[in-house]
């Protein structure tokens, strides 16, 4: 079933700020097998010129889609989660995320299109601090296999 194009342009806010902790950054870095001390040791990060441990480049995936879960699960969208795979992902960084950041996300359904038998949905998220400083933008394309058939 094709996805509902009425969702294009809809915007979703994260319900509460995401607090970036040293423990979470270290846990995530461990999970991707990265022992770089800048992720695990505050002193190493400070010695490298950072205010605290910084997050690996793909870390924003942990929280950047918090606000969109309800939208993707909305029956009116028509998304069959069982057939969803990740199509593309891109991050544009204004600065590294570090422990202590309190981040909020504004996510927009940027595009829905059919490619062959599949449906492609693009979500863009602007990640900012609670004081309004833009930290990064993420672009996430999910693919519903067979959705356009």
């Amino acid at each position: 079933m094709p996805l509902n194009r009425d969702f294009v342009g809809r915007t979703y806010e994260s319900s509460a700020p995401y607090e970036v902790s040293r423990v979470k950054i270290s846990e995530f870095a461990t999970a991707i097998g990265d022992s770089n001390p800048i992720y695990h040791d505050r002193r190493a990060a400070v010695a490298a010129g950072h205010p605290d441990v910084v997050a690996p480049p793909t870390f924003p995936i942990v929280f950047s889609l918090f606000g969109t879960g309800d939208a993707l699960a909305d029956p009116d969208l028509g998304l069959n989660f069982a057939m969803v795979v990740h199509g593309e992902q891109r991050f544009e960084y204004e600065r590294p995320i570090h422990a202590g950041d309190e981040l909020v996300c504004t996510s927009t359904v940027a595009e829905i299109r059919s490619v062959g038998r599949n449906e492609f949905l693009t979500l863009r998220s602007d990640v900012s601090t609670t004081s309004g400083e833009l930290v990064c933008r993420t672009y996430n394309i999910i693919v519903e296999r067979g959705g356009a058939a």
Binding site: G49, P56, P57, H86, G87, Y93, R145
Partner: protein
Amino acid sequence: MAATVKYDEVETGQEIPAAEYRVRRVDLVRYAGASGDFNPIHWNERHAKAVGLPDVIAHGMYTMAQGGRFVTDWAGDPGAVVEYGVRFSSMVVVPDDDNGATITISGVVEDKREDKRVVVALTARSGDARVLSKARAVVQLS
């Protein structure tokens, strides 16, 4: 906050030697927990096959993270990465054994831009499959 690689010492076309990254089922379970992505196609073989996949597959973001490691290890500082994007062109199938799958990543400096920035193009393979395409990182060098 600075890359250890110097812009003036890098040339367009310069290759970054390949590195191999192992991915076993336990790595996917750990990644699911740390990332919050518990889609069962990444840990439940029964479910993966029921939805038409050959076996459990790695999270695309796990593969992308290995590409991120490759770039940050080269640059010397994670903060030097100003942009990073990939297309997931093929699945990394992870068998239920002690070896799992291997992702091999290599890179080339594709372009030198202004402000001491370079574009690094990544190639990521698992078995015979190219698992990432359009994989590019923009890195701020010193």
